[in-house]
């Protein structure tokens, strides 16, 4: 089908006469010259392509490229609010590498991202497999799965803040009433435990995105393949590992890619729950950069902190795109 449609068009555009318009017509009536010219121009594929791409390119330049280039400039300058910055080379990055809070944020960002993404993938896959069965109220359950992902982060995080509250935590209340603990647990009062809580909330929030996307992937898997494998004697695990997983791998990688980027750059959740405390044990790039750039007004230094994300994000993206291409 597709080939039949495309071929004549290709054939048409390949003919040199399609582009060359007889000259006398265009010259004779000056009033009609312009629209004709425009029409002619638009018929040229290279020009039409530029015209059609222009809006997208403008938007990308304004909202993605410009801020990005500005970010790079800030990171290599000593810019503070209200004063033009001067170029200082890699000085900001040198300062960062000597900064124990930055190094802690660096480590935290990786721990946070990798553990949270791994958990989201595992739990999301599990949920997707369960949701892929037929059961009553299937649609309602599937739709409601998305709730944590839809609710604005700040709102849901405020609810979590209450649940982790040092005095009024509902978790402590339940555990105490169940006789499991005798002393309250200070969820956000210890560096490691607080990090665990942040990861848990991130997983709660991000898991539905994995579940729904993977579910969409699972539904594209042809049941015949499973049947065939079953007839060949494959058990459920083997069918999952050898049939399902290879087929949904591309979509899985895309989800992981998106999620990693979002988790790397996470800010709201951590800022609301701990603001990087206690004792700077839960800072990530985003929260620390905000404190330095906004609250200490050192835009250059702050930009260099958040730009430190870039090489790692780039590596993740390059690797995953390469992997997806290769498996295609």
């Amino acid at each position: 089908m597709a080939d039949q449609r495309i071929e004549p068009i290709l054939a048409e555009s390949a003919r040199p006469t399609a582009v060359a318009i007889p000259a006398p017509v265009a010259v004779s009536v000056p009033g009609f010259r312009r629209p004709r010219r425009l029409g002619q121009l638009l018929e040229r594929q290279d020009i039409l392509a530029v015209v059609l791409l222009a809006p997208t390119l403008t938007i990308l330049t304004l909202f993605i490229a410009y801020p990005f280039v500005l970010g790079i400039w800030l990171a290599v300058s000593d810019k503070v609010v209200g004063r033009p910055g001067a170029f200082v080379g890699l000085e900001n990055f040198r300062v960062n590498l000597n900064d124990s809070i930055f190094l802690r944020a660096f480590q935290n960002t990786f721990v946070y991202t990798f553990i949270a993404t791994a958990l989201k993938l595992a739990l999301g896959m599990l949920a997707a497999l369960l949701l892929n069965h037929h059961f009553r109220f299937k649609r309602i359950v599937r739709a409601s799965m998305l709730l944590p992902w839809i609710v604005p982060t700040v709102l849901s995080t405020l609810a979590w803040q209450w649940m982790f509250d040092a005095t009024f935590s509902v978790f402590n209340w339940m555990l105490m009433n169940a006789g499991l603990i005798s002393k309250r647990i200070l969820w956000l009062g210890d560096g490691t435990l607080a990090m665990g809580c942040l990861i848990a909330v991130n997983v709660w929030r991000g898991m539905p995105f994995f579940a729904i996307t993977l579910l969409a992937g699972l539904q594209t898997v042809n049941p015949d393949l499973h049947e065939a494998a079953e007839i060949d004697g494959a058990n459920a695990w083997q069918r999952y590992w050898r049939v399902t997983l290879p087929l949904i791998k591309p979509i899985m990688l895309v989800v992981v890619l998106f999620s990693m980027i979002a988790t790397f750059a996470d800010f709201q959740l951590i800022y609301v729950l701990t603001r990087g405390g206690p004792y700077s044990s839960t800072h990530v790039f985003g929260t620390y950069a905000y404190e330095i750039a906004m609250r200490a007004a050192k835009l250059g230094q702050g930009a260099s902190i958040s730009l430190s994300l870039f090489p790692f994000l780039l590596a993740v993206i390059v690797f995953q795109l390469w992997y997806i291409r290769r498996s295609d």
Partner: protein, 437 residues
Amino acid sequence: MAMHEGQGSIERRAFLRVAGAATGAAVTGGIPAIVGAQKAPSFPKGTKLSILEWVSFVPASDVEFKRLAAEFGKLAGVDVTVDQINMNDLNPRITSAIETKAGPDIIMMISNWPHLYADGLADVDDVAEEIAQRDGAYYEHNKKVSVVGNRWKAVPLCSVPSTWAYREDWFKEAGAGKWPDTWDELRKVGIELKKKNRPMGQAFGHSLGDPNNWAYSVTWGFGGAEVDQSGKVVINSKETLEAVKFTVAFWKDCLDEGGLAWDDSSNNRAYLAGTISATINGASIYFVAKRQFPDIAKVTNHGHMPKGPGGRFYSIGGQGRAIMKYSKNQQAAKEFLRWFMDRPQYDKWMAANDGYVVGPTPYWEKHPLWERDPKLVPFKEASKFGRWPGYPGAPSRKASEALVKYILVDMYAQAIKGMKPEDAVKWAEGELKKAYA
């Protein structure tokens, strides 16, 4: 209270009369007369004035401010708009306003922000000095945070001090008939209180106000400081070490161990729920108690930050209002600040705040509201002991860096968590040297 004996009969109206006479304005003629007396310039038609403020923790304060702003608009023939946003959101708004040279004409400055944003702020020397001449010199912290170099970059507005809110009944049961005067005395009562499962409460996390209140006041109180007057880092001293050791002991003996997980509102909730006996806070705990928990309000009083070997100190940044350099309506903005800070207007605004804010000059210690509720008197007096971030050095950008990195707070928090006090102080020294480099 002793200092007010004999003044108790001054009522609001009489006070205003005195105030009006002092400014030379005819109070009896109402607002238009005041403005007339000041020869408020009329502005070209269509002059606009846009003001950005925080959302106050006292709703009545915001209502009164908007009312006054509208009143000025009518008097001066200026179209005034007031935007109020969460305190946390002010920094990014100011940053983008200064960088894009567009936005409100007047913005509220909290603590040492005039130093952070000095390059984007217009000079307001005339207005600021006029007020000082009329009402007496500003409190030191109000002046320090507003003057950059030797120019006034903001007109001091007020202070919002935090004192200790405490349960008088429980303190009495623990053997303290009055609020302890020194840190050591407070610790002694605290030990008794915690034995009865009524600990005091203090946040040591990364929230904006409470943890810093402790960290700075206690360091100074024991004679320590981040830097000396010249900005040289001097944190690693035996005074600071004593402050850290004291805090660790106080934590174990007297405080609720939830503090490391607390934010600025946790102590309000814990106090009102009756799980803690005392905590450092603005007057908001007391105000909420009066509205919703009258029984608790009855037995709540306020006490001063105790004295240490180094003296009595409060960490108070104070607040001010700055006119933006990019503003095209600087003249109207100045007139507004002048008018708002004039006594009849400021009096009303301060009354609406009901003791939550303290005026920027000692003149306002005479406001009749302090007679209304003696429990609020420590707030009024706190400003005398107020110091700024970076004291005794300048409240500079470097002081802000130390603040946003929570270096002092984390010095205490890490010691509480088990780090040797000596090591915690050494850690803070290393970090401060980088911040002040």
